[in-house]
């Protein structure tokens, strides 16, 4: 904050600041100017009262361990690991499966190059990228833990103790920064019964990718799963599991439109006579180059049909797609040789448990949340979220995340220590009775009740580095011995009292 910097420059304590938000809380939300002004005045009064009770504080000096942990060996995790390792820091890269690369490894028609996923080795004759997997494997600063999962994380900012469950037993790591790149998983179309996913000729986009890969290896054109015939009419169904509150998720999965168009174009490339339909609600591809990509697809003869399909019908061994073309207002019943479901994304398995371990807040749809949605990898006690763990996104954007997270982690570890605001719990040992309620209430393990040998009593002690300053201990405390700096009850009370000062009582003495 500019104000705190100015205060520091002038030699004043930066904790002696109180802010009133009269724009968002008064001017912009109350049309009645007189009322808004009245409210603004009372809020200012409240802030002044609170400011009077503020206490000067000093920052906490937190040492940062110069090792990083990257969770997830997909395109995001690999990029982050490479960047950090490139700056000379030790990186532990933990991956659940037996191989690196994640989902991107399996993709071959990625936007905008209409080309392989950047880290894959297949279909790579014209690949302009250096395969990332080789880079990771050869980097001496990266210690790879495959078929491993995070079991437990303790400690706090700057020094976290991580237990990793590996095939060879648990491994203990001490790290200063953590990058969470656990990715996402695909929506299971079985959840929407009218899509008849059980039919072998109804496949997801990722399964369709495999059909294409097979044909590349084998040659002889695309073959559908049921009878090996070359499909002539192919329907792409968009938003499967996305933008659907009842059977799927509310969110848009962002990449499915571009990906489906890429696949559709690939079909046309292989067989210009194929009838390809893309059923969409809105086409979403706010990326550089998307418009050209889309125009090219249209010119290649791909049919874009606006409307959500009602159902896929199986009749006498044939598959029909029933849909309304909402632009033409025409009911369609298209006999289809192959249906491709553009499935959306959900948080990956176990991401909720990991979020809990790291105390990362999750969104309504359970994707992990950045502290500030505008700023990726905004300062967060050495723990950063990158890639699709934070929400569906394209490869390029996952890489950006990875680089931002790595840069933040590197900056932190290069400094070796950091000044952190002392908005943490504070124990008045004279008042503390060592009851242990705070210890129980703390979600971070920041509090321990220990014996004060000199006085022969139990007393609660706070690890300021682990404490996140939420104040749950303060309320649990049975003698109000714990308070959170900056949010002491008397400070909050003073504010409330000042705000309510002008209120008329029933019978006032004034």
């Amino acid at each position: 904050m500019i104000i705190t910097r100015v205060l520091e420059e002038e030699g004043l304590n930066k904790y002696l600041v109180e802010q009133v938000n009269i724009r968002e809380q008064c001017a912009w939300v109350h049309a009645d100017k007189a009322e808004a002004t009245k409210k603004a005045k009372s809020l200012v009064k409240g802030a002044l009262a609170r400011a009077e009770k503020l206490i000067p504080l000093e920052d906490i000096d937190i040492p940062i361990t110069g090792k990083a942990l990257v969770i997830g060996g997909g395109v995001t995790g690999m990029q982050a690991a490479l960047d950090i390792a490139g700056q000379g820091f030790k990186v532990y890269l933990v991956e659940r499966t037996a191989e690196l690369g994640g989902r991107a490894y399996k993709l071959s028609m990625t936007f905008p190059t209409h080309n392989c996923g950047i880290c894959c080795m297949q279909y790579c004759k014209e690949c302009v990228f250096t395969p990332k997997i080789e880079d990771v494997l050869q980097n001496k600063n990266i210690e790879l833990l495959l078929e491993s999962e995070i079991q437990d994380i303790t400690g706090g900012f700057g020094k976290r103790h991580v237990v990793v469950k590996t095939s060879k037993g648990p491994v203990d790591l001490d790290v200063g920064t953590i990058i969470v790149a656990t990715g996402s998983k695909l929506f299971d179309p079985n959840r929407i019964s009218e899509l008849r996913y059980s039919n072998p000729d109804v496949v997801t986009t990722v399964e369709f990718e495999q059909l294409i890969v097979e044909q590349r290896e084998r040659g002889g054109g695309l073959k559908r799963p049921s009878d090996g015939k070359t499909p002539k009419t192919i329907n792409f169904i968009q938003c499967v599991g996305s933008r659907d509150k009842t059977k799927g998720n509310l969110h848009c999965s962002l990449v499915c439109c571009t990906y489906a168009i890429g696949q559709a174009r690939e079909i046309k490339r292989m067989n210009p006579d194929a009838n390809v339909y893309i059923h969409y609600i809105d086409l979403r591809g706010p990326y550089r180059g998307f418009e050209e990509f889309y125009q090219a697809a249209k010119e290649e003869g791909i049919n874009f049909v606006r409307g959500r399909i009602s159902e896929i019908v199986e009749d006498k061994g044939k598959v029909f797609v029933r849909a309304l073309d909402t632009d033409a207002d025409v009911l369609l019943n298209i006999e289809s040789d192959l249906v491709v479901l553009a499935v959306g994304q959900e948080p990956s398995e176990g991401s909720d448990a990991l979020a809990k371990m790291l105390h990362i807040q999750t969104d309504i749809d359970k994707f992990m949340k950045d502290i500030n949605p505008m700023f990726p990898s905004e300062f967060r006690r050495g723990v950063y979220i990158a890639g699709t763990a934070q929400g569906p996104k394209g490869i390029r954007y996952s890489i950006e995340d990875a680089k931002a997270a790595a840069a933040s982690a590197i900056e932190l570890m290069k400094k070796g220590s950091i000044k952190f605001p002392r908005i943490v719990a504070f124990v008045d040992e004279e008042r503390c009775r060592g009851c242990g309620r705070c210890e129980k209430a703390c979600e971070y393990g920041a509090i321990t009740v220990t014996k004060d040998e000199k006085r022969g009593v139990l007393v609660s002690r706070i690890d300021e580095i682990v404490c996140e300053g939420c104040g749950q201990c303060a309320v649990a405390c049975c003698n109000k011995a714990i308070t959170v700096n900056g949010y002491r009850p008397e400070q909050v009370e003073a504010m409330v009292r000042a705000i309510t000062e002008d209120i008329q009582g029933v019978s006032s003495d004034e």
Partner: protein, 545 residues
């Protein structure tokens, strides 16, 4: 009031979702009524019930706590805890006669700007319909000058006989606080005041350290009233803006002040079961005190059932053929306010209660709570002169019933246990009731009564009074007292004071510097134990201590 009532509503919002959702509503210019005043906290789990009550006391008509969505708290579980506390507080509101609709929570994601605006708009409308809270505005302090305080302290020294102090130090030797806190001594406090040092009266923490147990008074060879002196000093300190650092975050004192300054329709009689006989008018008034409130306040403490005390008292009276007056309009006796220097509100409560008893036509008021008993008997009469009714503690009263033949103690304890009796300071040293409980105790057929080492006027203190500081020293006293009971081989320790029970149960249920086996004693209210003995209340199955 012809003007439309405009409520003032305090919204406690968390830093991560509640506050940002309001900011987003602002950025999007979504309109909502200006009655909402936002107070940001780190987490809704850090909102003290005492602070919420304080907001109401100071004029808020409604309070809403807004945090992250459930299961989505930035701090893991803060919102869940906040919800639990608000629910408990709502129960307390019901008892107090405050409409619990005035207090609510809402869980809003940072992005749900419209939900924020909608929620607060609806809440404003709801509170507007409920109308003003009807609390008298809190009085501004008298603003005494330094000179006036000096004079008052001088008078106090005279009134409490502090001039007679011969500096023998006996008081400090017996003081349970001085035993652990070497910086505290009753004698020094008096000396300091006599030397005319009143400058730091507002910040002198020792004024609030005293547990007012009266060990010193009972030992003083010159009968100096130290506790009276402390009480008076607190009144002066309060004039200078000093507040007791309450162990309950000021919640209990707030409730009492709200009672003093309102005419709310309380619901204090929820504990009265259908088969209990009570009346509106009659000869005997049973003054229940704060028992129903304690059950709501200490909802999360295991094994605390304060309402059982009241139930037991009425059952015993009913058995003796007495139908007591029990009133929902009863207010707190004011003990805690009186002992924390709030004379004005104490007097308001006193006047109300005396009037209430008079109206009922009662000739006798029975108390289970030693504090209520002391307050009526000593403090009310000191201020109002002799009251036109007799005040009796339940131990004396039951003895009277037995003597007159109305009540026969023919029951035998189902489970032969050994027990001891803890003299609470308000009943023993403050009121001189020592023998009646012991007479009753000796009548517990089948159970063995044992005295502890320190009994009667030498009884140890439960560590704290009027919810002032309950620190490690207080805890030591609490544990020490229970250990005494264990040492003489008692299975149970009986006592009359609900607060002694709360304090000691608290101490032995939490982390302790001594082994659990050293305090393995069941703490029980005396009246409840009597009711159980008379088979008027079932014996507890699992020994909850």
């Amino acid at each position: 009031m012809s003007e439309k009532f405009e409520p003032t509503i305090i919204a406690f919002t968390c830093t991560w979702c509640g506050y940002p959702s309001a900011s987003l509503a602002g950025v999007n210019k979504i309109q909502y009524p200006p009655n909402i005043r936002i107070v940001r906290v780190m987490c809704t789990g850090s909102v003290e019930p005492g602070v919420i009550m304080d907001a109401f006391e100071h004029g808020a008509d409604g309070v809403i706590v807004i945090g992250c969505l459930m299961d989505n708290c930035h701090y893991v579980s803060g919102n869940k805890k906040a919800q639990e506390r608000v629910d408990a507080l709502k129960k307390l509101f019901d008892i107090m006669g405050l409409d619990s609709k005035r207090l609510r929570t809402e869980w809003i994601n940072a992005s749900e700007r419209a939900k924020f605006a909608k929620t607060v708009s609806e809440f404003v409308e709801e509170v507007r319909k409920l109308g003003p809270l009807g609390l008298e505005k809190k009085k501004v302090k008298k603003q005494k000058t330094q000179e006036q305080v000096k004079k008052a302290v001088k008078q106090l020294i005279e009134d409490t006989g502090a001039f007679d102090c011969v500096e023998c130090g006996k008081c400090t030797t017996v003081c349970p606080i001085a035993k652990y806190d070497t910086t505290f001594a009753p004698r020094t406090l008096v000396l300091k005041a006599m030397e005319g040092i009143v400058d730091n009266i507002a910040t002198d923490k020792h004024i609030w350290t005293c547990s007012t147990c009266e060990q010193c008074n009972s030992m003083c060879p010159y009968k100096v009233d130290y506790t009276g002196f402390i009480r008076g000093m607190r009144e002066e300190a309060a004039e200078f803006g000093a507040e007791p650092s309450c162990s309950q975050g000021g919640l209990i004192h707030s409730i009492q002040r709200i009672m003093a300054n309102s005419d709310l329709k309380q619901k204090r009689l929820e504990w009265v079961k259908k088969d209990l006989k009570i009346s509106d008018k009659g000869d005997v008034f049973y003054f229940v005190g704060c028992l129903p409130h304690y059950d709501a306040i200490f909802y999360d403490r295991e094994g605390l059932k304060m309402n059982e005390i009241a139930e037991s008292a009425v059952r015993i009276m009913n058995k003796a053929g007495v139908v007591p007056v029990v009133s929902s309009s009863e207010k707190c006796c004011g003990h805690d306010l009186n002992w924390t220097g709030d004379e004005d509100n104490f007097e308001k409560l006193m006047e109300h209660n005396v009037e209430l008893v008079k109206k009922s036509g009662a000739k006798k008021v029975v108390f289970t709570c030693p504090e209520c008993y002391r307050t009526f008997n000593n403090d009310y009469q000191a201020l109002m002169g002799d009251l036109p009714f007799e005040m009796v503690h339940i131990s004396d009263y039951i003895n009277g019933l037995i003597e007159s033949g109305s009540l026969q103690i023919d029951a035998t304890s189902a489970k032969p246990y050994s027990f001891t009796y803890h003299d609470s300071c308000r009943l023993g040293r403050h009121s001189g009731v020592y023998d009646s409980p012991r007479t009753l105790a000796k009548g517990f057929a089948g159970a063995k009564f044992i005295e502890m080492e320190n009994t009667r006027d030498k009884a140890l203190c439960c560590g704290v009074s009027a919810w002032a500081n309950c620190n490690a020293n207080a805890k030591r006293m609490q544990i020490e007292r229970v250990m005494e009971a264990k040492k003489v081989g008692a299975d149970r320790m009986l006592m009359f004071c609900p607060k002694c029970q709360i304090h000691m149960k608290c101490a032995i249920s939490e982390k302790m510097p001594v082994d659990q086996s050293a305090v393995d004693v069941k703490l029980e209210d005396f009246t409840v134990a009597m009711a159980r003995l008379l088979k008027l209340l079932p014996e507890e199955t699992s020994a909850s201590k």
